[in-house]
Symmetry: C2
Amino acid sequence: MARKPAEQTVHPDAIIEAAAAVFHRQGYHGATMADIAAEVHLTAGSLYHHFPSKQDILIAVLDAGLDQITREVAAIAAASDDPAAKVRQIVRAHIRSVIENTSIAAAVIFESRALLDVPDARDRVAARRDELEALYRGVIEQGVAAGQFAPLDVGIFVKTLFGALNWVSVWYRQGGRLTGEQIADEIAGMFLRALRYES
Amino acid sequence: MARKPAEQTVHPDAIIEAAAAVFHRQGYHGATMADIAAEVHLTAGSLYHHFPSKQDILIAVLDAGLDQITREVAAIAAASDDPAAKVRQIVRAHIRSVIENTSIAAAVIFESRALLDVPDARDRVAARRDELEALYRGVIEQGVAAGQFAPLDVGIFVKTLFGALNWVSVWYRQGGRLTGEQIADEIAGMFLRALRYES
DNA sequence: TCTATAATCAAATCAAGATTTGATTAATTG
DNA sequence: CAATTAATCAAATCTTGATTTGATTATAGA
């Protein structure tokens, strides 16, 4: 049984990347199948051999983004380092993920709402986001319980951290004044100071 | 010369509010003129007596949002309080603005990109956002110069603060565990701790 | 009361864009 | 090499939705 003609095969991941880039530029609704197809040198119709619909492409993009970051953060959260070290590592990982993969990260932030009318997908993405948030929450709670962080409202802290980190995908520009590493350190420092006891 | 038949007049502000609400629910591209019109008991066509196009409605929404918050923040920034007090007030004002006017605030954050292909409007909105950011920057710089805040990267700090505050519009729910006031105080406290010198 | 005009509506226009359809091409495997 | 099927394309469908058009209604002022 014959299969993939090697020359003309486009890997699904390439389509996901391409779609994320177009979504980033034009938003989900503003992106046409033709735009996405052009990015990988296909025509609109050809995309339907790879994904059943535009919506499914979006879902794949969001899953890719959530996969990537959740994997990294979970590893850090599960380690045995002390909470402050974990916070620093998590912030680094999150920012690295956001700037190495800006389009996909931005999609998770900005385009999830396009699934509002697809209950299954909407709920699944929301659940995955909550999971991720729970990982962060766990680390902070651990530090507070150990008396290493000041007692504070962990829920608010985590949302605030999340907002700040996600926002990086909005303003970060390749080749700007600071490297991703420097940005991550600066932000990690800020949040760690916020976690200290008042002197 | 005859004018407005009182009974059937819809104030432009009502349309702006309505549009913001629909944008919040469905996104700019996902919102139809009929959706917006229904919100104020009109038909799609009637909206064109109030605004020349859907795009102009979005622009009006964004301007309304920026007007509101800029006015408040500018007043605080210009006052003679000490920088720490100003930061607290600004955070309070920003969050109040975001939660009292969630839809319009969310539009500024999520829908500005829909103007990417309208250079004039795009640039004007971007400029207004930069202005707002500059107000924040000024206050932080003032505190750093006075030796009241630790020397830190003001640019990164402001972006981080912005991200955190704007994100509130994503997760805030009327009638949640905390009031807006409490949320604002918690977040202000976090950022003020981040501004202290390491002990 | 009469007239001009704002506000509105229902229905028509018109274009864009997601998806479908019916070939065509090319590589894999027997 | 022959058969099968993945991958592709160009062109056709079909729907949705922004905008336009041509009445209609109601009120402010003369």
